[in-house]
Each structure stands twice: as structure tokens, then as C-alpha cells.
Amino acid sequence: MTWIPEVASNLASKVDGVLWVITLLSLVFFVLITVLLVFFAIKYRRRSENDETPYITGSEPLEIIWTVIPSVLLILIFIYGFVVFKDMKSPPKDAVEITVTGKQWLWTFDYYNGKKTLNELYVQQNRPVRLVMKADDVLHSFFVPAFRMKQDLLPGRYTQLWFTPTKIGTFDIFCAEYCGTGHSVMRGKVIVMSPEAYNIWEKGAEAEEGGAVASLPAAELGEKIYKEKGCNACHSVDGSILVGPSFKGLFGHDVELQDGSTVTADENYISQSILEPQSQVVKGFQPVMPSFKGILSDDDITAVIAYIKTLK
């Protein structure tokens, strides 16, 4: 555990500057007050019931001093916070624009070249990015601690934030605005790539990924999709109950639905649950799963079903 998360964007060190200045000023006042408190409590402890104490009711010069000095410092902190905030709110004109959609409980990213990713945001090192964001259902908040960046997403309105990633690597995205049952699993990753790697991803990754993927056996591909497309956020494979039912021992067994009817979990049931989740909600769970129509292809769904079949 470190004191402060990694510094991975152009703005992160500026925000840290504000954090450190306030920390130092706070420490000065904290130490001053604590030392006086302890010192007085010991030095002036009651020695006898007849201790004589002076009749001191106040001091105007002191009141002025401890009003004016903190006021000046507070205004300086305000200004420093504001100056950095202004940078955070002023994206450069040449920033790459990516559309972010938050919905319960996943992130989708639409790129200028028509690419679309789920829960994984691909960006290039040292190239400014502007995220144009909206929510599909309730409030969400896009938060990348390593970038010191946070902005709420609203339904029916666009919000934005920008950053320049400075470090190659993978960084956490958290949803920071409470959004319901699956709020704590609404996490993603920012993948910052070198310009070369980004070029390859930008142009050919899909073909390459497709090629690699096609050669996998269906169940293994299903497992990969299960992990990459966020199924694992809500559905366990070890029988534990998360937001949704576990996949363990699901296939071929009877499932009791919200309306009291029972269905057998076969290929059609699973496929329908992925594409139209609200149509057959399992008893004891809430109708909260988003549809994966357009996110998973038919082949993907077949692979997921093959994977579920292996979870006995």
C-alpha cells in the first residue's frame, strides 16, 4: 500500500500538489492545537481544590490574529485549488474524442473509428483524450484514481472530462456514484498503450483478436468472454451468490422464475437471458441485468453456453 496512487496523467501531479500543500498546512495547525491541548492539560492540571485561576475573558489582538491568518491561508488554498481545477476543465482542442456510456453496471466506449469496447478503455500514451459521457439509466461517475479524474454521468445530458495519459499500463476505472445493486462491480480498466501498440490496436486488433479467438475451443472462448465482458461481476462460477445467480451447475437444471413458473436452463433459456434479461428473471433476484444485444455476437453466446456447460 502506498500513500497515494500512481501518477499516470498530466493532471495527476498537479492535483497531488494541491493535496500536499493542504496536508502541510493542516499538519501545522493540527500539531499546534494538539501540542497546546496536551501541554495545557498537563501543565495546568488541578493540583488542589483551592487552585487559584486568573480571570481572563479574552483578548482582542488574539482574536484578530487567529481570524486573519487562517482567512488568508484559506483563500490561498481556494485559489490553488481553483487554478488546477481550471486546467482540469479546459481540454485541448486536438484531444481524441471517445464516447462513454455508463449503464447498470458496465461501461461502453465508442471510438471515432467505429470501434466499440466494453469495460476497457484503450488510449495512447501522451495523447490528450476527451471523454464525452452519458448515462443510460441512473447516475454513474467515471473515476480513475491514477489520473485523479472524476466526473458524474447523467441520463439525458452530456458531461465531459479530459486527461493526457503519461504512463503505459493498465489502470482501474471505478464507478464512484452509487447506482444500485451492482454498483461495486461496475469497474473497468484504462489501457494506456505506446503509440506503436496503439496504432496496431487501432487498425488491426479486431482482425488479430478475431483470428486468435477463432482458434480457441468454444468453452475456453466462453471463459474468456465471461471474464472480459464483465459477466463475472454478477455471476460467480463457484456457487456463491453475487448480484445474479451463479453459473455453477446451472445448465440442464430447473430454474424457478419470479412469476412462480419453472424453466429448464437449456441453450435457448441462456441465450434469451443474455439478449432479453428482463423476460425471465430468476426468483429472488432483481430485474437489473442489461441486455447484451449488440455486445455479444451469436458465436460469442454459443461459446458462453459451452463454458456454462462445463461448470458442473
Binding site: 500500500m1 492535483v15 494541491v18 493542504i22 491541548l37 495545557f40 475573558t57 487554478v83 447516475l139 454498483h183
Partner: protein
């Protein structure tokens, strides 16, 4: 001060009458105070147990004790009960009721029946909330739209319960304002008033002016949920940020409804146990009013990342720093009161010094959240959770427990075991810090709040926080057991065990129903401790 040597009546303590109706139908402010005290303490315990369950779930990153939905219900109920049922009525309704008439030399509050009515309204709100527990809400205590209008849990009844509670708060505030204006004993001028009265006055103004706004907000929310009228839901032409503006317009001043009475309490305790006049009386008195006024103008600092304009964010950040000034002034004056005193570390004094220490941390960490750039990173993380609890537990609850230990002999006519009380204070102080201090680091690291499960990198600090909650719980248990045992086995309390000059200590413990046999004539302020110089005498 006042002179009560002539006995006209036989002394009958106000606790003498027995039977449930003697309580439910009483108009005695001291009995109403006790009913509030029992009610809020009950909710403090219940909401505290919910918090322990949450911390237990958070011991490990995975979801292993309760489901994520249940966890969300737990933090919703913990927050709602603590805020609306414990800490907002809190000190103001319990100790405010007990102390205001006694301290200003009055036989009761201005409207005793209305006072009882306020308590009944509180009970009614409680009943409505209990019904809502059949399908408890999972929105968080802030009820943010559009989630609160779309979740299928029972948001309507819970918010309606809070709506009803609001009337209790408004009427109590109004009652106290009139009492302080009209019922002061002869000679009890504004500048002789105990600082707890100044604090209660500022609090009452906030209750009266801010509570209607949350009432209307919750009513709009209920209307939207029930009839589908679009106020906040953008799908129906509403605006979710409007809800946040409304909600915080009340809920930020509400923070000061919660903390100002505690500031009043320690302004009473410190001079008594330092045997010194309070330092900077006027500065402390007027800073309460200053805080109350500015607190109406800072609400949007809860919304820097919500999508409000950068200009609005900048203005509210600036105003937020202004509210820190009167708060800092109070802290400096309390510390200065100790200078050259004769300090006795009575348990209530330990809570008061604990208040100054913890509230200072709570206040200073507020600067991080007020500064725009820093807040963007820290907002909605555990840093906010820690800051909030340092102010609410480190501040208000410390003040509440200090008040409980300080006025216990007066209120109940019994003494508690002082050694056990000190041990309990120590456990609470250590437990609190172990629970909440690590959360500042969690927040800086980026751990978001309201997470039922969390990434493994946060585990060590999260489990440390859980261990702390166990120490805190043990401390609270020892503290409560000690006070309860004292009620039955404690020695009889003398009239004025700490040699306080304040009026409430000049009547028997517990006070008679009518408080004063004869309305006292006040000739000096409450804080005339210490030896005056020749020229001042």
C-alpha cells in the same frame, strides 16, 4: 447568583411520577427531553449495529456475509437512522429540551404542549419508517434521483417518515427560539447567556428555515414515484441535479444542526473543569450565528463532480472556505480557555478534549474537500466517509457523550462510576481512530464509498478499519453499561458536584417539576470563574 433559600413547597423531583401515561402525556420539558434521549439512543444503537455488520462484510474484498443488495440496504438504513432519527433531533431535542429552560431560569419552554406534540410527531415518523422496513430502501440516505425513483424498494414510506420528522424539527426549533427570546429570567441578558443557549438558538434558526426545503424535496420525490410526475427524472422532463441542489440546500445546514449543539456543550464543560471563564465569549457566541448563516450558502460543495457549471463550483468552493473561519475561531478560543486553568480530567472533560482533537481533524480534512482540484479526486471516496465521521462521531457524538456524562447527575440525580467512564472513553477514542483514520488513506488511494465488494489492493486498510470498529463497539458498550448501572446502583448526586456557576446547578438534582421555586434574578454571566484582579473586582 440566584438565591433560593426560602422553601415554599416540598421538593418533589420531576422523575417522581410513575406510569407510562405520566410520560406520554407530560408537558415537562425535562421528561420530554428524556423521551427524546431514550428514542435517539435506541436508534443510535440500532444504526450502530448496522454499521458493525457493514464493517464485518468489508473485512474481506468478496461478498461473503450479506449479498450486495443487503449491503446497500444496510448503508441506507445506517445513514437514514443515524442522520434523521438520531443525530438531527439528537442533542438539540434531548439536551436542548432539558437544559434551555433550566439555563435561562424559566419554568418550562414557551409552548409546553407543542413541545409534547413535537415528540409525538417524532414517534409518528418513526412508526412510518418502521412500516417501510418491510421492503427497505437501497438508495443511500441521500435518495439521489433517478435511482430513488426507479428502484423497486420502498422509498416512499421511508422518505415520508423523514418528511413527518421534519415537522417535529421545525416546531421544536420555533419553540426554542420563542423560549430564548421571551422566557429568560430577569437579568439574563443576551450577553450573559450560557453558550449552549447561543448554540441552541443558532441551531433552532437552521431547523426552522432549512427543514421545510427537505420536506418539499421529499414530497416532490414521493409525487414523482407515485404519480409519475417528472421533477427529477430526465426521462420525464425533470433534472436529477435539481434534486441534489434541493437536497443539499437542507442537508448541508443540517450538518450544522448536528454539530453546533455539540459545540455549545463543550463551551459549557471546558470552563467548569478548567475553572476559568470561557475565552472569547462573544467570538464563540457570534461565530455560531456566523456558521448558521454561511452554512446556507455552501451546499453545492457536495456537487463539484455532479455536472454543475465550473462557475458555480468556483463560487461554492470559495464560500465553503469562509465557513471554516468561524469554526477555527471556536477551536482557538476553547484551547485558550485552558491556559492557566486548574484542569480536572473528568470523563466529560475527556470527551470535550477528545472533541477538540477529533473535530480539528474533521475540520482540517474538510479543506481538502472544499478545494476544487482536490475534491475532484477525493469526492465519493472513503476520504469523505472518514471526514464525515470525524465531524459526526469525533464532533457530535463526543459532544453528546460529554453532555451525557456532564449533566447525568443533574438529570437523573445519580452518580456513575467515574473510573469505568474514563476506561470507556479511552476505548472509544482508540477504537474510533483505528476505524476511521485508515479511511483517509483508502480515499486518497481511490477506494470509492458504498462498495459492497472491493478490489484486493484495499484489503489491509479495510480490515484494519473493521478491527477498529470492534474496539469502538466494546467502548460504547462499556460506556452505556456504566451509565445504566449508575441509574440503579449509583450514589445520590449532590446539587452541584462540579461547583458550576450555571443556573441548572443551583437547583436540586434531579430538579423539581417547576425547576425554580422562585424565578432567579441573574446578576452576572455564567462564566465568572477565577480570581478577578483588584481593578475588575
Amino acid at each position: 447568583m440566584a438565591n433560593h433559600t426560602i422553601a415554599h413547597n416540598v421538593y418533589v423531583p420531576f422523575l417522581e411520577k410513575k406510569g407510562i401515561l405520566s410520560w406520554l402525556l407530560t408537558t415537562d420539558h425535562k421528561r420530554i427531553g428524556i423521551m427524546y434521549l431514550v428514542s435517539i439512543s435506541f436508534f443510535f444503537v440500532v444504526a450502530g449495529i448496522l454499521a458493525l455488520l457493514m464493517r464485518l462484510e468489508l473485512l474481506t474484498p468478496a461478498s461473503d456475509i450479506v449479498s450486495p443488495h443487503t449491503y446497500n440496504v444496510l448503508f441506507t438504513l445506517h445513514g437514514s437512522l443515524m442522520v434523521f432519527f438520531f443525530i438531527v433531533p439528537g442533542l438539540a431535542a434531548s439536551f436542548g429540551n432539558f437544559l434551555i429552560p433550566l439555563m435561562i431560569g424559566a419554568p418550562d419552554v414557551a409552548f409546553p404542549k407543542l413541545n409534547l406534540g413535537s415528540y409525538w410527531i417524532y414517534l409518528l415518523g418513526t412508526l412510518i419508517m418502521l412500516i417501510a422496513l418491510s421492503k427497505p430502501a437501497d438508495t443511500g440516505w441521500t435518495f439521489y434521483t433517478p435511482y430513488s425513483t426507479t428502484t423497486d424498494t420502498d422509498v416512499v414510506l421511508l422518505t415520508f417518515g423523514v418528511f413527518v420528522l421534519g415537522f417535529s424539527s421545525i416546531l421544536t426549533g420555533m419553540n426554542f427560539i420563542v423560549t430564548i427570546h421571551k422566557m429568560r429570567a430577569p437579568g439574563m441578558t443576551w450577553h450573559r447567556l450560557p453558550l449552549f443557549i447561543w448554540a441552541s438558538y443558532a441551531t433552532s434558526i437552521l431547523q426552522l428555515l432549512a427543514t421545510p426545503v427537505v420536506g418539499i424535496t421529499l414530497l416532490l420525490l414521493i409525487t414523482e414515484r407515485t404519480f409519475g410526475v417528472g421533477f427529477f427524472d430526465p426521462a420525464k422532463g425533470g433534472d436529477p441535479i435539481l434534486f441534489q441542489n434541493f437536497f443539499w440546500f437542507y442537508s448541508h445546514p443540517a450538518v450544522y444542526i448536528m454539530i453546533i449543539p455539540a459545540m455549545g456543550v463543550i463551551s459549557e464543560i471546558i470552563p467548569v473543569f478548567a475553572r476559568k471563564p470561557i475565552f472569547g465569549y462573544k467570538a464563540i457566541a457570534y461565530s455560531s450565528l456566523g456558521i448558521a448563516f454561511i452554512s446556507f450558502l455552501v451546499w453545492a460543495h457536495h456537487m463539484f463532480t455532479s455536472g454543475i457549471s465550473s462557475l458555480a463550483a468556483t463560487i461554492f468552493s470559495f464560500l465553503t472556505f469562509l465557513v471554516a473561519i468561524p469554526t477555527a475561531i471556536k477551536v482557538f478560543n476553547w484551547v485558550a480557555t485552558l491556559y492557566k486553568g486548574s484542569i480536572q480530567l473528568h470523563s466529560s472533560m475527556l470527551y470535550s478534549l477528545g472533541f477538540i482533537f477529533l473535530f480539528t481533524i474533521g475540520g482540517l480534512t474538510g479543506l481538502f474537500l472544499g478545494a476544487l482540484a482536490a475534491d475532484i479526486h477525493l469526492h465519493d471516496t472513503y476520504f469523505v466517509v472518514a471526514h464525515m465521521h470525524y465531524v459526526m462521531i469525533g464532533g457530535t457524538v463526543m459532544g453528546f457523550l460529554g453532555a451525557l456524562h456532564f449533566w447525568y447527575p443533574k438529570w437523573f440525580g445519580k452518580m456513575f462510576n467515574e473510573t469505568v467512564a474514563k476506561i470507556a472513553w479511552f476505548l472509544i477514542f482508540i477504537g474510533f481512530n483505528v476505524t476511521f483514520f485508515p479511511q483517509f488513506f483508502l480515499g486518497v488511494e481511490g477506494m470509492p464509498r458504498r462498495y459492497a465488494t472491493y478490489p484486493p489492493q484495499f484489503e489491509s486498510l479495510m480490515s484494519l478499519s473493521t478491527y477498529g470498529s470492534w474496539i469502538l463497539a466494546i467502548g460504547m458498550f462499556v460506556m452505556a453499561a456504566n451509565l445504566l448501572v449508575g441509574l440503579f446502583r449509583g450514589e445520590k448526586a449532590p446539587q452541584n458536584p462540579y461547583n458550576s456557576l450555571s443556573l441548572e446547578w443551583q437547583v436540586p438534582s434531579p430538579p423539581p417539576h417547576e425547576n425554580f421555586e422562585e424565578i432567579p434574578h441573574v446578576t452576572d454571566w455564567t462564566y465568572g470563574y477565577g480570581k478577578k484582579k483588584e481593578s475588575e473586582a
